[in-house]
C-alpha cells in the first residue's frame, strides 16, 4: 500500500513540484508551439527536397517530440532535486526505489503522450494531412507506447544526472541523436547502414514506423510487431535505467558526490 502511495502520489507531487510545468507560460511555448514549428520546418524542407510527403514529417516529428518531456522531465527528477537541495533527503528515505523512481515516470509518460497527440492533430490540420478515421485509435496506442519507451530512455538520462551536473545538456544531446538516428525525417533506408542498425535499438524508431503505416491505411494487426518491438525496447530501457540509477546512487553515496556531481 505504501509503495502504491509512493508510486502514484509521490510521482504526481514530484511532477508538480519539480517541473512547474503546470504554468501555461512554459507549457504553451515548450509543448504546443515548438513541436508544431518542428513539424513545419521539416515538412517545408521536405517540400524543398521532394524527399517524402507531409504525412511522413507530421507523424515522425509529432511522435519524436514526446522525447522532450520524457527526457527533460526524467532528467529533472535528479537535477531538479539537486538544485532544490532535496536530493539527499529523497535518497535517505526508506522508500522503495522502484515505486519512487518509476512513479515519477508515470505523469511524464502521460505528458509525452499529450504532446504527441496535440502535435499529430494540429500538425495534420495545418498541413492538410489526412489520416483515416480507422487509424485514430491505433495511433493513440502507438503514441502512448512511444511515450513509454522514451520515458525508459529518460530514466537512463536521470541516472546520468547522478554523475553529470548539466542534465539539460544531456537531454538535448539525446533528443538530437534521436532526431538524426530514428528515421524521424530521413527514411532509415537513406541513412548509412550503421546508423539504421543503431536505430533499431533506440526508442521511437519502431513506433514512428508503425505510426506511418497506420496513417497510410494499415491495420493494427499488421503493425503489431513494430508496436511490440517499441514496447520491448521501452521495457529494456526502463530496467536498464532503474539499474543504472541504483548503481549511480550507490556510487554517489560511496564517493560523497550526490550533491556536487
Amino acid at each position: 500500500m505504501t509503495s502504491l502511495r509512493i508510486f502514484f502520489v509521490g510521482g504526481l507531487t514530484s511532477y508538480r513540484a519539480l517541473f512547474n510545468w503546470l504554468t501555461p507560460w512554459i507549457l504553451i511555448p515548450s509543448f504546443l508551439i515548438a513541436p508544431l514549428f518542428q513539424i513545419l520546418l521539416f515538412a517545408y524542407i521536405g517540400r524543398t527536397t521532394h524527399l517524402e510527403s507531409d504525412r511522413f514529417y507530421v507523424i515522425g516529428n509529432a511522435l519524436q517530440y514526446a522525447a522532450v518531456p520524457c527526457l527533460f522531465a526524467m532528467g529533472n527528477t535528479i537535477g531538479g532535486e539537486r538544485y532544490q537541495h532535496t536530493l539527499s533527503l529523497v535518497l535517505t528515505t526508506p522508500a522503495g526505489r522502484l515505486p519512487l523512481f518509476i512513479g515519477r515516470s508515470l505523469p511524464v509518460i502521460a505528458n509525452g503522450f499529450v504532446v504527441s497527440a496535440f502535435a499529430l492533430v494540429t500538425g495534420s490540420a495545418l498541413l492538410g494531412v489526412h489520416v483515416p478515421l480507422s487509424a485514430v485509435a491505433p495511433l493513440v496506442l502507438v503514441a502512448a507506447v512511444t511515450a513509454f519507451s522514451c520515458t525508459g530512455l529518460g530514466l537512463c538520462n536521470a541516472a546520468l544526472g547522478l554523475r553529470v551536473r548539466e542534465t539539460a545538456v544531456t537531454s538535448n544531446i539525446i533528443f538530437g541523436l534521436l532526431l538524426v538516428f530514428c528515421g524521424v525525417n530521413v527514411p532509415l533506408s537513406s541513412l548509412p547502414a550503421w546508423m539504421s542498425t543503431i536505430a533499431e535499438g533506440l526508442p521511437l524508431t519502431h513506433g514512428i514506423a508503425a505510426g506511418r503505416r497506420l496513417a497510410g491505411g494499415a491495420d493494427l494487426g499488421s503493425v503489431a510487431g513494430l508496436v511490440g518491438a517499441e514496447l520491448l525496447i521501452g521495457c529494456i530501457y526502463l530496467v536498464a535505467g532503474y539499474a543504472l540509477l541504483r548503481l549511480m546512487e550507490v556510487e554517489g553515496r560511496r564517493r560523497g558526490t550526490l550533491e556536487i556531481a
Binding site: T23, P29, S30, F42, T49, E166, G176, L179, S190
Partner: protein
C-alpha cells in the same frame, strides 16, 4: 569613446563566460549540428552539390540564432539569478550599453557553431565551400552576428516582464529558422509570411552570406542587415528606459 570601451570590454567578458558554459558553449555547437546533419541527409537525396552547399550555409547560420534566442530571452532573468541585476541597472552607464554586449556575445558564440557546421559538412558529407567573394563574406558574417545580437537585445528587453522567457526563446528557435529562409526558399511560403521574413535580420544575414559565398550581390542584404540592426538597437534602447522606469516605480526589479 567610453561607450565603445564599455561595449567592447563587456563583450569580451561575456564571451569568456559563455565559452566556459556547457550549456551555451558545448551545446551551442552540438545542437545545430543535429539539425544540420538531418538537413544534409535530406538535401543529399537531390544529388545536387549546389543544393548541399545551400543547406550547409543555411545550417551554419542556424547556430548563430540558436545561441542567441534562448539565452537572450532569459538574459535579464539570468542576471537576476546571479544577483547582479540591481548592480548593473544602478551603474551610471545607460543600461542598453550593459545589455548589448551580453546579447552580442551570445550571437558571437554562434560563430563556433557556424564553423563547426561548415567543417562537419566538409568532412562528413564532402560539402566544399568555395567562397566567391571572400572579402564580402568576411563582412557578411560579422554583420549577421551584429544584427542577430541586436535582435536578441530587443527580444531580451521586450520579454523582461515574462518570468519564464527562456521558454519563449526556445519556442522562437524553429520559427526563425523556418521563416528566415535558412533551409527553405521564401517563395515556398504563403505571401503573408514574407513581410515577417523581411523584418527579421537573419533573413538578410543568411542571404548576404549565401550571395557572398555562391556569387551574387551581397551588398544590399548586408546593408539591410546593418539597417535592421540599428533599428533593433534604437527600439531596444527606447524600450529599456520605459521598462526600467516601470520596474523602479513599482519596485519589481528583482521580483518580476
Amino acid at each position: 569613446m567610453k561607450a565603445l570601451r564599455l561595449v567592447a570590454i563587456g563583450w569580451v567578458f561575456q564571451l569568456k563566460m559563455l565559452s566556459r558554459s556547457a550549456f551555451d558553449g558545448l551545446l551551442g555547437i552540438l545542437w545545430p549540428l543535429f539539425f544540420a546533419t538531418t538537413a544534409f541527409f535530406m538535401f543529399r537525396t537531390s544529388h545536387d552539390p549546389r543544393a548541399l552547399l545551400y543547406a550547409a550555409l543555411g545550417s551554419s547560420v542556424m547556430g548563430i540564432w540558436s545561441s542567441t534566442s534562448v539565452a537572450a530571452s532569459s538574459a535579464l532573468q539570468r542576471e537576476r539569478w546571479y544577483g547582479t541585476l540591481e548592480a548593473i541597472v544602478g551603474t551610471p552607464a545607460h543600461f542598453s550599453l550593459v545589455l548589448i554586449p551580453i546579447t552580442l556575445a551570445m550571437s558571437t558564440v554562434g560563430i563556433y557553431s557556424m564553423a563547426a557546421t561548415l567543417l562537419w559538412g566538409r568532412f562528413l558529407f564532402g560539402i566544399g565551400v568555395h567562397i566567391v567573394h571572400p572579402l564580402l563574406f568576411a563582412v557578411a558574417v560579422p554583420a549577421t552576428v551584429l544584427a542577430i545580437g541586436l535582435l536578441g537585445f530587443l527580444l531580451s528587453v521586450t520579454v523582461v516582464r515574462y518570468r519564464t522567457a527562456w521558454a519563449l526563446g526556445n519556442a522562437l528557435e524553429y520559427p526563425v529558422w523556418l521563416v528566415c529562409g535558412f533551409l527553405v526558399p521564401l517563395s515556398l511560403f504563403p505571401g503573408w509570411v514574407r513581410p515577417i521574413s523581411w523584418a527579421l535580420a537573419p533573413t538578410w544575414g543568411v542571404r548576404a552570406i549565401r550571395q557572398a559565398a555562391l556569387g551574387g550581390a551581397p551588398q544590399i542584404p548586408v546593408a539591410a542587415c546593418i539597417g535592421l540592426a540599428a533599428l533593433y538597437g534604437i527600439a531596444g534602447a527606447l524600450l529599456v528606459d520605459t521598462v526600467l522606469r516601470s520596474a523602479r516605480k513599482s519596485a519589481t526589479l528583482s521580483l518580476t
